[in-house]
């Protein structure tokens, strides 16, 4: 089997799994307990937090553990909305955000908040002037993802940062779920206030994640209770999961330059291959993350390509896993200006550093076979 669906989720790293098992077995105490077992886990939790903070070059008290990307995005958006309700109720976001963002702001829209959705061009890019024009006196939140999960387009976080420097009271939330380990993130010196991360996208266990919340910024808690995570996110801490998460982050950022080069080589190879096919359209723009390539075979629905390739042992998906089964949100490709028919052809290959050029060659062979087969039925 060749696994090319790493933006949906990743295989847990063996060493990470070892840590998860060892920690679950031996360190099951509740970090809030007074006894030694509790002290021990509280120490381990702090270690995990410290390690994540130091890998991202931020402070320990700027990291808060969550259950993953969806919780992080919900928290960043609704937490800001509750916190800043009395200052304003206007939110700016892009039209190609993950459903965790889109549906969070939709929920707020139903409650009376106003939302501006910035359109994207055929490269999946927002226009920075649109953002400038959209900012109002009552804008409390700008929410833009760093890397689009369907097409891999890289959004202009630095440019937005520059604009928002003149609006210090607006929260800037970045969904960085697809960005970590794939592009450079400089949280400490940037204007980003909240960045959201999900463990299972970088070989950590599912149900783990964290947010970065800049010192001095406030998010109202969504989960109230026993006051864990400095009172910001209650619920008994998932210590083994967070240890595994910290380890996975260390591993993914180790030699990350080399890893990116490896993924980019695969992507470049496949991209050139696909572009040589008459009936293939590549939707991923040139300026994009190294691990995602989104394309379609004209006239053939994406799911047919996905199933055909699966029969050949190659696992990939139609755009995002979250929306592929349930039509929660229109695909980003549609937002990029393509017709509904074209957007429906979109499929996505997403790499991890574990993929190889050999696998790319196998893909090419398999793809040629189904390409000819599909051509025949057309």
């Amino acid at each position: 089997m060749i696994y090319f669906d790493n933006s949906a989720t990743t295989e847990m790293n063996r060493q990470v799994l070892d840590s998860l098992l060892a920690a679950s077995k031996s360190y099951y105490g509740n970090p809030s307990s007074l006894h030694t077992l509790g002290e021990e886990t509280s120490h381990l939790l702090r270690q995990a937090r410290k390690q994540i903070a130091s890998l991202l070059k931020v402070n320990e008290d700027e990291i808060f553990f969550t259950s993953g990307g969806t919780e992080g995005d919900n928290w960043a958006i609704k937490g800001t909305a509750i916190e800043k309700m009395s200052y304003g109720r206007h939110i700016i976001t892009s039209s190609i955000e993950h459903p965790a963002v889109i549906n969070s702001v939709k929920q707020l829209e139903n409650l009376g908040w106003e939302v501006t959705y910035l359109p994207v061009d055929e490269n999946g890019q927002i226009n920075i002037q649109d953002l400038k024009r959209a900012i109002r006196k009552d804008t409390v939140l700008v929410s833009v993802m760093a890397v689009n999960n369907e097409t891999g387009s890289i959004l202009p976080i630095e440019k937005i940062s520059t604009i928002l420097k003149d609006y210090p009271s607006i929260h800037f939330h970045v969904d960085a779920v697809q960005a970590i380990g794939k592009i450079d993130l400089d949280l400490a010196s940037s204007r980003v206030d909240v960045a959201v991360f999900s463990g299972h996208k970088f070989h950590a266990p599912k149900g783990t994640g964290f947010i970065y919340l800049k010192k001095g910024r406030k998010l109202a808690p969504l989960l109230s209770g026993g006051g864990q995570e400095s009172g910001k996110r209650s619920g008994t801490e998932n210590v083994p999961g967070n240890i595994a998460l910290a380890k996975a982050l260390r591993l993914i950022l180790e030699d990350s330059h080399e890893k990116r080069k490896g993924m980019l080589a695969c992507k470049t190879e496949i991209s050139a291959f696909l572009k040589s096919k008459e009936r293939v359209q590549v939707f991923t723009p040139d300026k994009s993350a190294p691990h995602i390539i989104c394309f379609g075979v004209s006239g053939i629905k994406g799911e047919i390509v996905v199933h055909a390739l699966e029969q050949k042992g190659i696992i990939m998906s139609t755009t995002s896993a979250c929306s592929s089964k349930r039509k929660l949100k229109q695909p980003s490709v549609r937002d990029m200006g393509y017709s509904k028919d074209v957007a429906e052809t979109a499929v996505r290959i997403s790499f991890s550093h574990m993929n190889t050029l050999n696998e790319v060659e196998e893909f090419k062979t398999a793809f040629d076979e189904i390409y000819n087969q599909l051509k025949a039925i057309d």
């Binding site: 060892a22 920690a23 002290e39 120490h43 270690q47 995990a48 390690q51 240890i243 380890k247 260390r250």
Partner: protein, 405 residues
Amino acid sequence: MQITEILVRYGELSTKGKNRKYFIKKLQRNTRSKLKQYQNLKIVANRDRLHITLNGEKADAVMEDLEDIFGIQNFSPVVKVGKSVEEAKKAVVHLVGKHFKENMTFKITTRRADHNFEYDTNELNQILGSEVEESFQPVSVQMKKPDLDVRVEVRLDGIFISVDTLPGAGGLPIGTAGKGMLMLSGGIDSPVAGYLAMRRGVEIEAVHFHSPPYTSPKALQKAKDLTAKLARYTNEIKFIEVPFTEIQEAIKKHVPESYSMTITRRMMLRLTDRIRADRNGLAIMNGESLGQVASQTLDSMMAINQVTSVPVLRPLISMDKNDIISIAEKIDTFELAIQPYEDCCTVFAPSKPKTKPKLKKVLEIEEELDIKTLIDNALAGIKISSISHEDSSEELSNSEFQSLF
């Protein structure tokens, strides 16, 4: 260009007349023990400097450890080149380049141990000086307090050049002042007092009072961890754990609350003094700072200190809390000290301790206590361990847990 040796300059000890040899010997021994993990080092002490030859050991790591040794005023990394003027010129330009700022002043100070070298010191000063002037613009030579002092030494086996001077820890070599007992509670102050005493050459042993189950194992571990932090400046520190439960229970039972603090302190001082006598210590140190809390008024100090005539040194006596905290942060004990574990001072703390206890009253109250038995019982139960810098629970658990991360 590689750093081949480090030149260490002594601090105050250079002024110690006949004791000089003793001080230098101590410093050499302390340096050896601190740097013992670097097996290839050669350490030679002479009258005015210590020469550390690296023999391939990492200069950065060695210099970082040197910063923790008391009695060192400053030190300089030295680069060695072959015995030719051309090589010396190149090295000097390279090293000056690292520090170059426009309009800076510099001087070249040459010493010559090898008097057969083709140029004398004046010629070398001129040759190297004009090389610097030609390579960098604008710079000028200045003899008094230049921005950069380039020291060149021609020896038999090569030319040695150094430009940087890094500050050492100052103070006096540990052990030169003798041994003293540090009363270590687990708070912010006492580790700082210990650090300052060590800086003046005192070899410390830490005395900690422990009252299970009123104090938690964590509080004891914290005191040990603080000791491990202090051990960075020396080799090992003896940690003396004194069981204090029986005494505290007796005080609680027999002593009026307003005097319990005073009497508790007197008992602690008595015990520390007995331990000191047994272990040949010459003084007792604590973290008292005048007026900080009820036990630290002059009235209290007088009433408490009355149990011994041995010097009780209080390095923090005139310091403000903020100054103490900034030293605690510097020596990395602050974060640890503020961890909230009950120690024996807080559990039995009276709500209104006397700030002006009367000695006469104190002596009356103590009649109620069987002091001799209480002291002997406590001394019979002391536990002594050696703590080194690597022993902190943080370090230990880090290595134990490391594979998890």
